[in-house]
């Protein structure tokens, strides 16, 4: 069973629908037992880092997520929360991927949030296949992670940043595969095949 962690995030239903379009029955759950027993876990998120971390801690979901051994896919805020720290309201995150989340600092009047379709490159992970190099995916975010040793896809806005990260069984995308057309669907399918 694929379990989507159910908390007060915006795009949970979109992720559920995206899986349904792939013919996958997933379950929304905030129950630690169900999450731990899932074959794969998706940790979506749209919203503000601090409030969301607080919400997860109050329900002990932070410890549950940290302990997961099966493939996990963090999406957008879900990716950022897997990191160590976010500049968004100086938030201590889950610390699974040792990276810092920083706010975009525009250089030439670039708009923040980074909103829309942008291309991803330097793909290196079973999450992506070679045909996806330089394809466009949908982003909406004001904070991001600089490229580093856990970066498995890069994107350029203001400067290069991590479009996706991986550490062990934890995969994460800054973009929204559930809203990225056929490319996004291919990425979700790759995750489901892991």
């Amino acid at each position: 069973m694929i379990t989507i962690i159910d908390y007060n995030a915006g795009n949970i239903r979109s992720v559920l629908f995206a899986l349904e379009r792939l013919g996958i029955q997933a379950r929304l759950s905030a129950d630690p037992d169900e999450i731990v027993k899932a074959d794969k876990v998706i940790f979506p998120g749209v919203g503000e880092a601090n409030t969301t971390m607080q919400y997860l801690r109050e329900r002990q979901l932070d410890e549950v997520i940290k302990g997961l051994k099966q493939p996990v896919l963090g999406i957008c805020l879900g990716m950022q929360l897997l990191c160590t720290h976010s500049e968004e309201n100086d938030t201590e995150c889950l610390g699974i991927i040792p990276q810092h989340v920083l706010r975009f600092r525009p250089r030439q009047g670039e708009k923040v949030p980074h909103m829309g379709w942008n291309s991803i490159y330097n793909l290196r992970s079973p999450l992506f296949d070679a045909t996806l190099e330089k394809e466009y995916v949908y982003f909406v975010h004001s904070y991001g992670v600089e490229p580093g040793s856990y970066t498995i896809a890069t994107c350029n806005y203001v400067q290069p940043f991590s479009a996706a990260l991986q550490k062990d069984n934890f995969f994460a995308t800054q973009f929204h595969p559930e809203k990225s057309g056929k490319v996004g669907a291919a990425i979700l399918e790759n995750f489901l095949k892991l």
Partner: protein, 252 residues
């Protein structure tokens, strides 16, 4: 590189698209989900659904529509039209909407923008602005353009940004429907006066109008309705043309 976005807009009444749609390969041209899916196939980057229903049942219809769109489409969509309250918005978010557009209600009570941004995040809040140029300056209009205000366009978009809007959808009433090009000068002023993305709307008639609104108008996205509905400009052709002209768009 971040691509410029092409956004078809669908007018909805009682859950159905109202503007005449000239597609032969649709089973039901009035079905917003089917039409939206077709646009998505053709390479639309986002969709905007504007509900013009004027009944009390509106909230229910809109939520059901949002849910159907979210189930079937794999690109982002905005839903708007007569949204008044946090409760209206909560239902839409829960139904799977990616963004909501608020217009008159935000002008009448600007705190609404703040409340929505705080509760749902700025990325969820599109402030739609209809404005008309009158004796030199641009003024915000309400209720689909029927009521003039003395609020200046540039003041209002700045305020909307400060209160937490994630995006501005700007329609020039002087240009809307004329198919003589977008309001490039004022769009550029709006786009450079704020640091959130701007969707330009009103006036699309040719492919060059899109080139102009992205280059001269500095818009982040361009919205149009009838030229897409009546197939005057197919989206794949528009996108190839934009690429030839050096405008970065997502290929189809």
């Amino acid at each position: 590189m971040l691509a410029k976005r092409i956004i078809p807009c669908l007018d909805i009444k009682d859950g159905r698209t109202v503007k005449g749609v000239n597609f032969v390969n649709l089973r039901d041209a009035g079905d917003p989900v089917e039409l939206g899916a077709l646009y998505s196939e053709q390479g639309a980057d986002e969709l905007v659904f504007l509900d013009i229903t004027a009944t009390h049942e509106k909230r229910k219809t809109l939520a059901a529509l949002a849910r159907a769109i979210a189930q079937h489409l794999n690109i982002p969509f905005t839903i708007g039209g007569g949204i008044q309250s946090l409760e209206d918005v909560e239902v839409l978010l829960d139904s799977g909407a990616d963004k909501i557009a608020i217009n008159s209600a935000a002008v009448r009570r600007p705190e609404l923008v703040e409340e929505l941004a705080r509760q749902f995040g700025s990325q969820f809040v599109v402030v739609a602005v209809d404005a008309r140029q009158m004796s030199g300056d641009w003024y915000v209009h309400l209720n689909g353009g029927r009521i003039a205000t003395d609020i200046r366009l540039l003041d209002w978009v700045k305020e909307a940004e400060n209160r937490g809007a994630g995006e501005i959808l700007f329609t020039s009433m002087n240009h809307d429907g004329a198919k003589a090009g977008f309001a490039n000068d004022i769009t550029a002023q709006v786009a450079t006066s704020i640091s959130i993305p701007v969707i330009a709307s009103g006036g699309a008639g040719t492919m060059d109008h899109f080139v102009d609104v992205f280059t001269q108008g500095k818009a982040d996205a361009a919205l149009a309705a009838s030229i897409f509905h009546f197939r005057e400009i197919p989206i794949p052709k528009l996108k190839s043309y934009l690429q030839e002209q050096g405008v970065n768009v997502r290929g189809v």
